[in-house]
């Protein structure tokens, strides 16, 4: 419940600070800016407002109204009904770790289970209790590396095949840190699967190398050599992974990466027009004192019973202040719970099955589309998971516009983020897409090409 201050309390507080009225606090703001006239429409009644908001929201269309081949970082997977049902239980329905955490043993236990699942999925040693999304998790990796080297290594190297928005978020987080450069993803760097361009740029001032797996174009590249070279030159490596892909692929931990991050949205979290999503952040144990965010540990209480606590909190900003790795002292609790429930429901076998279905269906689609006249795979010799790039005979935005008339959401127009990739569509296929859907998509592509 919100309890406002009483007049007497306000008076008392003002007296302590030594001013007479609240307005006195704003004296430093020039008078003409203090109470600006806002050009706002007349207030509406609740009923009028509901009508207006409904009108606005009807301009949106849920992905499930279409056959969707749109991915590029957020994927339309099937979510078992039990996920939402458990999520909405009053005991769990909060976005954050509670401020008096140990009293909420159930919440802490669910976070502990989440952490355990994430370490099992990635093969890494430690997982924190989550971040906002994959992009902020990647940015926290840059933060960790910067602090690990105490600012003595100032280069963050990212490949051009890392999600453009992740690269942008890393730059935002690094902004203002003295001397830090985020580079390696310029247009001329290209995205050759041999990674030579990136390898050449790793030196003894490189704090972190960021790669993506599968990369933004869906390709599965072998990072073994890159990781060896980075480590030989003393740099850390962060792998941005897709959790669904780990149902089939060798996990980041086996590549010996230092940090592995990803977006947990594919694990039972709806697209919901872009969020809230879930940042997964895992590390080798060596970096645990530099880990950002919350961490739940298992222990025993004074009666010897199993109990959960927030642990290693002295890393965090509320204790270490400006010396902490990050200003994040929270987690994406509800979304982490969704991922936990999702993975528990699917189990190891079900999860692998989802990954395998995505893989097989995507390959069927790629094969069919590449046979269409005017279409070809952009990277025909590189293995891919459930996303691939096709060269299209017409601009992608134009094709996508027409595809909507066939109730198809086409793939991501790569030209938006890559000026050099005109007529390149990034197509994602999940287990929700049937063979019939793919065949319809292929037909629709043909039709809109001939339009």
């Amino acid at each position: 419940m919100f309890t406002p201050h009483t007049k007497n309390e306000i008076k008392e507080m003002l007296k302590v600070i030594g001013v007479d009225t609240i307005e006195d606090l704003f004296e430093k703001v020039p008078e003409k800016h203090r109470f600006p006239e806002l050009d706002l429409p007349e207030p509406l009644t609740e009923m009028e407002l509901a009508v207006e908001l409904n009108e606005i929201s009807s301009a949106n269309a849920p992905a499930d109204d279409f056959i969707s081949f749109l991915g590029a970082g957020a994927y339309n997977h099937y979510i078992p009904a039990a996920v939402d049902m458990l999520l909405r239980r009053g005991e769990f329905y909060t976005a954050y770790t509670p401020y008096q955490p140990e009293i909420s043993q159930g919440t802490l236990q669910s976070i502990f289970e989440f952490q355990s699942l994430m370490t099992e999925l990635t093969g890494m040693d430690v997982s924190n209790a989550s971040h906002y999304d994959g992009a902020t998790a990647a940015a926290e990796a840059a933060n960790l590396a910067y602090h690990f080297f105490r600012g003595k290594r100032n280069k963050i190297l990212v490949t051009r095949a890392v999600h453009p928005q992740y690269r942008e978020t890393i730059r935002t987080y690094m902004y203002g840190l003295e001397d830090v450069v985020v580079f390696g993803d310029e247009e001329q760097a290209g995205f050759s699967p041999d990674l030579q361009n990136t390898l050449d740029q790793i030196d003894n001032n490189t704090a972190l190398v960021v790669v993506q797996y599968p990369d933004f174009f869906g390709r599965i590249l072998d990072y073994t050599k890159l990781i060896e070279i980075a480590h030989a030159r003393g740099a850390l490596v962060c792998m941005v992974f897709n959790p669904t892909a780990l149902g089939l692929l060798k996990p980041p931990g086996e590549f010996d990466v230092d940090i592995a991050v990803g977006d947990g949205q594919p694990l039972g979290i709806p697209l919901s027009f872009g969020g809230p999503y879930l940042g997964i952040f895992t590390i080798k144990e060596k970096y645990v004192r530099k880990l950002a965010g919350r961490l739940v540990g298992e222990t025993v209480d004074e009666e010897g019973q199993r109990a959960y606590v927030l642990t290693l909190t002295a890393r965090e900003q509320h204790i270490r202040r400006e010396k902490s790795t990050s200003n994040i002292c929270t987690n994406q609790g509800l979304m982490a719970l969704a991922a936990t429930v999702y993975l528990s429901l699917l189990g190891k076998k079900g999860f692998k099955q989802v990954a395998n279905l995505c893989y097989q269906k995507a390959h069927y689609a790629a094969q069919k589309i590449s046979k269409l006249e005017g279409f070809e795979l952009a990277f025909p010799d590189t293995p891919f998971f459930h996303e691939f790039v096709i060269k299209t005979p017409k601009p992608v935005f134009e094709m996508n516009f027409h595809l909507q008339n066939h109730w198809v959401l086409g793939g991501y127009d790569l030209n938006q983020a890559y000026p050099e990739l005109e007529h390149h569509m990034l197509v994602a296929v999940t287990e929700k897409i049937s063979k019939q859907d793919i065949d319809d998509f292929v037909l629709a592509l043909q039709e809109v090409t001939n339009d």
């Binding site: 004192r289 204790i319 010396k323």
Partner: protein, 130 residues
């Protein structure tokens, strides 16, 4: 509380002891007691670093807090007690001997004159305790 004579003390609870042209630095018995069980130390400097009085030399983390340890004088770092990284509890058990943290070559030995001696430090602590 143990406050050995012959050492110099800073208000931020570091001790410094001159040995020839070098000086050894650590935290005081009072400081380790305030921190409670030390579980981790992270050194923030490397050997041969030029450091100034007031610079942070390490972060010491206990079960209830994380605190910086500062250089009580300026100089060049000549040694770091890396054994503490594996056994940070030595800082609690033996703050003045095995619990030493770094050695420096002093830029200006007269800088130590501004620090407290054992007697002053004891009264300073009594004052703080109220």
């Amino acid at each position: 509380m143990n406050t050995p004579k012959g050492l110099k003390y800073a208000k931020t609870d570091e001790w410094i002891k001159v040995e020839g042209d070098q000086a050894v630095i650590g935290i005081t018995d009072y400081a380790q007691d305030q921190l409670s069980d030390v579980v981790f130390i992270e050194f923030l400097i490397d050997e041969d670093d030029q450091v100034s009085k007031g610079d942070a030399l390490a972060t010491v983390e206990s079960v209830k807090a994380a605190s910086d340890v500062n250089f009580p004088a300026s100089g060049t770092v000549t040694a770091i007690n890396e054994a503490l990284i594996d056994e940070p509890e030595v800082i609690n058990n033996d703050p003045y001997e095995d619990g030493w943290m770094v050695k420096i070559k002093l830029d200006d030995p007269s800088e130590l004159e501004n620090l407290m001696d054992a007697g002053d430090y004891e009264s300073y602590n009594e004052e703080r305790e109220g």
